[in-house]
Symmetry: C2
Subunit: 310 residues, 2 copies
């Protein structure tokens, strides 16, 4: 963003490309955005950042994919509390005008999908592309589902099969620009991950005791939940998606499915069915031995981030 | 942040170095923070990012200065709405453990000064240091002071003399590590800028019609306010601080004093005096000719960013 004129023009282009503020709110263009509070209940706050060369490679994905993904992964954090998103702030470092336009088109698609508004942010020059989204959300007066509430005896569920994102990235790297039809869904899972907002609400409504989203891998994220709750975990299996390996499912990460624990399996089935959602997959249970980390009788490694296929 | 263990340890170190959440809130350590909403009135949201080599140079300032500054400039955005800060999210890219510790010590000092809590964020590896803060604030049921409300005939005020930050950076560059006693205050203004929260509240309480903080320079930021309000501006002078040049005051930027417009000068004087604050400096007035940008009868350039002494 070269100089003040370029910055002003870029901000105006971003403002026009995104939904506009209602008359009684102020979004992009002032020192801070002015928006309604969450009404009843708590405010949820989260932030996630993506860095060129660490989280994405513009030789493999479009700038619009990066815009989609950074918004969607923040929405996923809100979903993992049983919340719904409200407003987002976007800061962009080191983007050319064409990259800004691509990012914003992906952000706009994700905002429309998740009913979340970009209300402000910041632009800066810089030697590489870094995009950060901070997001607010609400539980609408209901409780937030933390990582800390799982008890021994709770069942462990995941909202979908795993490993699609890392299998998709592998397919993309093997044949960049020429992905076979069999791999298109996997590549889409990598480029355009879905945040499970409805599933998070259903989990909360069915009495989930703890919840987390899978960003770094089933093993590591479930270890985080177990450590926070002070329980152990015994898994039957990791449900690999069609086209994904067992290792993808266990440690691939970036699935953005939700893991949650609940005492009453029948309530889980009923609430998800009533919401018209795919039934979550039961993958194991919580045990009192807080050191237990087992899958199919073998040790479950808290791995993921280090092996992440980025 | 190398690997999951390093990330977990760093997050735990950050959590311990900052104030802890009350029992009924969740801050660092879950997918999202859970905090009270703003109660009555609107929620203010802002974000600002600082980039190594663009906004700061670790040969000239400490990591703790960077931590202070990125929090303070976000608080300044809330102050420029007539608000007070509530909660902050911090994302850090490309920091070593020692840089993280320095950043966090400065963040903690600023959080204590401005009564604002860091409740979450994100850590990432990366080839250079980028720190982003997103902040929430509230007007406590009162109105937010936008950039858009100035009218012809309103007087223009600034909350303090200008140019200290850019004069301080010049002194620092001339004698790094050996700043003379005469320049210590200027250097402090550059390294540890103050957000004018009490002044923003007083301006709002005295009927300010529009307000903005000086981040990029008096000329450019006042042009933003005038353009947003659809008025012209005629300044008498730019009030340079002791040790700062006229050019510093006009275009140096990073002063984080507030510019505001108000119809009733006597109300401004009275409210600031009652709050025990230094009286704001009247620097000019708003005129109906929306193209007018004058200072002492000469053209006032909307400059700053391009010339910024970083």
């Amino acid at each position: 963003v070269p100089g003040a004129d370029g910055e002003r023009a870029a901000i105006e282009r971003i403002r026009i490309a995104l939904p506009q503020a209602p008359d009684d709110e102020t979004w992009i263009g002032d020192d801070a955005a002015v928006v309604p509070g969450p009404g009843a209940g708590s405010l949820l706050l989260a932030a996630d950042t993506v860095v060129e060369g660490v989280h994405f490679d513009l030789d493999l994905v479009e700038a619009s994919d990066v815009g989609w993904k950074v918004l969607a992964v923040n929405v996923s954090d809100i979903a993992a509390m049983g919340g719904t998103p409200l407003h987002a702030l976007v800061t962009i470092v080191g983007a050319s005008n064409s990259v800004i336009d691509g990012l914003v088109s992906g952000l706009a698609e994700a905002c429309s999908t998740y009913d979340c508004a970009v209300v402000g942010g910041d632009l800066s020059s810089g030697p590489l592309l870094v995009v950060t989204v901070a997001i607010t959300g609400t539980t609408g007066g209901g409780r937030a589902v933390l990582r800390t509430g799982a008890h021994a005896g709770d069942q462990i569920f995941v909202t979908g099969p795993l490993g699609r994102s890392s299998a998709g990235l592998r397919a993309l790297r093997a044949h960049p620009g020429d992905v076979g039809p069999a791999d298109l869904d996997l590549v889409a899972a990598y480029r355009r991950p879905q945040a499970r907002v409805a599933e998070g609400l259903a989990a909360s409504g069915s009495g989930a005791t703890a919840m987390i989203d899978i960003s770094d891998g089933l093993g590591i994220d479930l270890d985080r939940l177990a450590t926070a709750s002070g329980i152990g975990i015994v898994l039957d299996d990791a449900p690999a998606a069609c086209g994904a390996t067992y290792e993808d499912a266990l440690a691939g990460g970036e699935d953005y499915e939700l893991i949650f624990t609940a005492a009453d399996s029948s309530a889980v089935s009923r609430v998800f069915a009533e919401a018209g959602l795919r039934p979550p997959i039961r993958i194991g249970e919580c045990v009192a031995d807080r050191t237990a980390r087992l899958i199919g009788g073998q040790p479950l490694a808290a791995s993921g981030w280090e092996h992440r296929l980025r």
